[in-house]
């Protein structure tokens, strides 16, 4: 079935945005009748590569050939006409039009110059029949489940393009039965000789459906491998960019937690579609590292703990007394703090000064009726600018002029000013330079020694090893394991992630993680 001449071939593709390299010299090839998985962490360049192939972006360098002919799609429509169809994860078709209208938008069958609805409906039924979908095509698409919409989107893409089908995380919001149905469809398309590119974060699915996998990291291609014979641990290490090392990078002084008071305990917290029930007890003077691949449910857990989203089930206790957070305000009033992952979007307020950004959370906690005087504000701002070594010429400088690392410190200062007892940091070192990186890690250690309880989410394994007193491992929107103080190494974390993605079925890796599973729902 699989021919040797690639259906789609990209050679040395490169793309820059404002001088920042998003994709560098990436080769990619897709055979007819092949399902090719594309994996990589956030920022690895997956979506940039996809957008170049589908005409949403123009490449800066390199060649793309389809059926051996060089192509350069100018836009999405162009790529569709060439034979490359895409199904996006979220932005997908139009729920306010009927199923048939969605299938034929832009190419409606005509009769006497007017659109022929009956013909469109008839042909839609024929098309969907091939996918085993027997639905009312005259009904609005929005009345059907995401799984059905996904199939309609695939049907449209295949019907228009018919050579290459690119799926961007198609299974992100499907349940197990729906995923199986989708995979059956992909198998049949593969049998028809289409090439399918499949982007996902779920390793199980990569192994279930794909023939080969290409791994991207930091805009470079790491490898393309047939999945037969590639073990999961190797795949994880290719993705995270670490070689497995035998030596242990042990961290010193595990704190005597038994003597520390429990600040907050979370029992059976869960939210449908976001995170499976988990228990977590946070004690003073500890740093709980949260590790897992993208989409594993790390941020989702933190958001439930901080009241950004309300859990469907579960209880929260602060200082042994029941609490419920209907909004972050409630969490703040109980002494919680949260530095979000995307500081540009959720954290800093661009045009406000460093001082104003620092006092924001403290002022919110006091209520607007009790304003901090200008003098108090300045004192607080100066104290944290000095304490955290925030590099700014002036406390009145708008924060947007500061570097990423210094912005991150301002946000940290904002929460420290409220004197929190529990501080949640989501990717505190993302996008900041090496020097600031080390300072943030040092700060986390200092805060812990002063008795604060910290929960730190990070994708950098070495970083977690450096500051965590225990590590929670997440996979597939579940808390799957915990590494106690003595066992935290980058390798152990990675093995735990790989093993849990394997649902414990792997050999050596599975056993390594099995010993670390304790007290997890």
């Amino acid at each position: 079935m699989v021919k040797n001449e690639p259906l789609l071939r990209a050679d040395g593709v490169g793309k820059e945005f404002f001088g920042v390299t998003a994709l560098s010299n990436v080769d990619f090839e897709l055979l007819a009748g092949e399902i090719h998985a594309l994996v990589g962490e956030n920022g690895a360049g997956k979506s940039t590569l996809i957008k170049i192939l589908t005409g949403a972006y123009r490449r800066d360098r390199g060649r793309v050939c389809l059926d051996g002919v060089a192509v350069d799609p100018a836009d999405v429509k162009d790529a569709q006409a060439l034979g490359i169809g895409t199904v996006y994860q979220e932005v997908n078709l139009l729920p306010n039009l009927t199923v048939a209208e969605n299938l034929f938008l832009g190419r409606e069958p005509k009769r006497f110059g007017l659109t022929d609805r009956r013909e469109a409906n008839r042909r839609s039924r024929e098309i969907l029949d091939q996918y085993g979908l027997d639905i009312d095509v005259a009904a609005l698409l929005g009345t059907y489940s995401v799984a059905v919409r996904q199939i309609v989107a695939i049907a449209r893409a295949v019907d228009i393009s018919g050579k290459v089908l690119i799926l961007d995380e198609p299974t992100a919001s499907l349940d197990a039965a729906e995923v199986s149905r989708l995979f059956a469809i992909l198998q049949s398309l593969k049998g028809r000789g289409l090439g399918v590119v499949f982007i996902t974060h779920f390793f199980d699915q990569v192994y279930r459906i794909a023939d080969r996998v290409t791994i991207l990291r930091n805009g470079h291609k790491v490898a393309t491998r047939p999945l037969a014979g590639l073990d999961r641990l190797e795949l994880v290490s290719l993705m995270l960019g670490r070689e497995l090392k035998a030596e242990e990078e042990q961290r010193a002084e595990p704190p005597d937690l038994a003597t520390k008071p429990v600040v907050a305990s979370f029992k059976g917290l869960s939210k449908r579609g976001r995170i499976a029930p988990f228990d977590l007890e946070m004690r003073a003077g500890e740093v709980v590292g949260v590790a897992g691949l993208l989409g594993a449910g790390r941020t989702e857990s933190a958001e439930l703990m901080f009241g950004i989203h309300q859990p469907d089930h579960g209880t929260i206790e602060v200082d042994g007394k029941p609490a419920s957070f209907s909004s972050p305000r409630d969490a703040i009033s109980r002494g919680f703090g949260f530095c979000p992952e995307d500081r540009k979007q959720d954290g800093i307020i661009d045009d406000l000064s460093v001082r104003e950004n620092i006092i924001l959370a403290l002022q919110a906690r006091r209520g607007w009726a009790k304003p901090l005087s200008r003098k108090e504000q300045e004192a607080i701002a100066d104290r944290y600018i000095a304490a955290l070594d925030i590099r700014t010429s002036d406390r009145e400088k708008p924060i947007k002029f500061l570097s990423g690392g210094n912005q991150q410190k301002v946000i940290l200062a904002r929460w420290l000013a409220t004197d929190p007892r529990l501080l949640i940091l989501d990717e505190p070192t993302r996008g900041i330079d090496v020097g600031a990186h080390a300072e943030i890690i040092r700060l986390i250690g200092e805060l812990r020694e002063r008795g604060m309880s910290l929960l730190v989410i990070s994708s950098e394994l070495e970083e977690i090893v450096a500051y965590a007193t225990r590590v929670r491992v997440l996979a597939d929107r579940r808390h799957v394991g915990e590494l106690p103080a003595g066992e935290i190494t980058a390798d152990a974390i990675m093995r735990a992630i790989a093993a849990s993605e394997n649902h414990g079925a792997g050999e050596a890796a599975g056993q390594a993680a099995a010993g670390t599973r304790e007290s997890v729902a």
């Binding site: 932005v91 997908n92 306010n96 938008l105 832009g106 609005l140 929005g142 995401v146 579609g273």
Partner: protein, 328 residues
Amino acid sequence: MTSSRLFSLATTFLIFILAYALCIAQFPNMLSTRVIGNLLTDNAFLGIAAVGMTFVILSGGIDLSIGSVIAFTGVFLAVAMGDWGVPPLLAIVLLLAITTVFGAVMGAMIHYLAMPPFIVTLAGMFFARGIAFLISIDSVPIKAGLYDTLHGLYFRMPGGGRLTFIGMAMLAVFLAGILIAHFTSFGRNVYAIGGNRQSAELMGVPIARTTVMIYALSSFLAGLAGIAFSLYTSAGYSLAAVGVELDAIAAVVIGGTLLTGGSGYVAGTLLGILIMGLIQTYIVFDGTLSSWWTKIVIGLLLFAFIALQRGLVWLSARRSGASAAIPA
């Protein structure tokens, strides 16, 4: 099924039937072809303009320039046919060309400058009204053979009611609007853009061309509405038709079209127009009520419809939200 979409329309229809039945119960004379004929004639210009507004709102936009374009039309026609001596037919063709280009320019600004339609058409509203004043600040009577001929064109319905030329014109425009909305690619594209602009673009809908065409259509119909208005009043006046755009928006919303775009029917707008006209007729029949009661009832109706729409949107969001979730 398409139940939630049709539900709005059915509600509107039911309200119209109910309201009319109540009116007849109180004033049996309201059940006559005379009343129906007048209902159509009195609201002809508003109805024509509201068809254009329906397309604009279906695409998720808004057009505030309609009233000004109607005033400009009246003044332009009166002065062109009177002072400038332009033959009536030529004046009408010229006028429709001007208003269509005017709308196309607004559409192009909205698309290419990525400006909100509210701001661009607000500018258009001031501009068109200003030009009308520039041409003439007086109420200029229109005396043209063509107008007399058109006034004489009507059907005498059984019972003595007259279906006038502009009443027929409005019905014809509604028919054409329904055809365009539901049986052309352009119509599909309007709904697509109103549903989700980004998705529509990824699905290959020509966003730029469609946006320009939507506003050109709206202004063209505003020009047509202006002609109907000048036939109705036999004059052109730059202070006329102030706030007509808001009446048109009200008719569209009462007709069941979602202000957020992507959902609604042109036929619903006709019902919206008839409901508003009915309220006015009732007040005339009653004789003791102040005409401001029209505004009060329309205001209440709008509140009710917005609440209804919110409820529908909320319901459908909840439904798709539930099916979107995966078991944790």
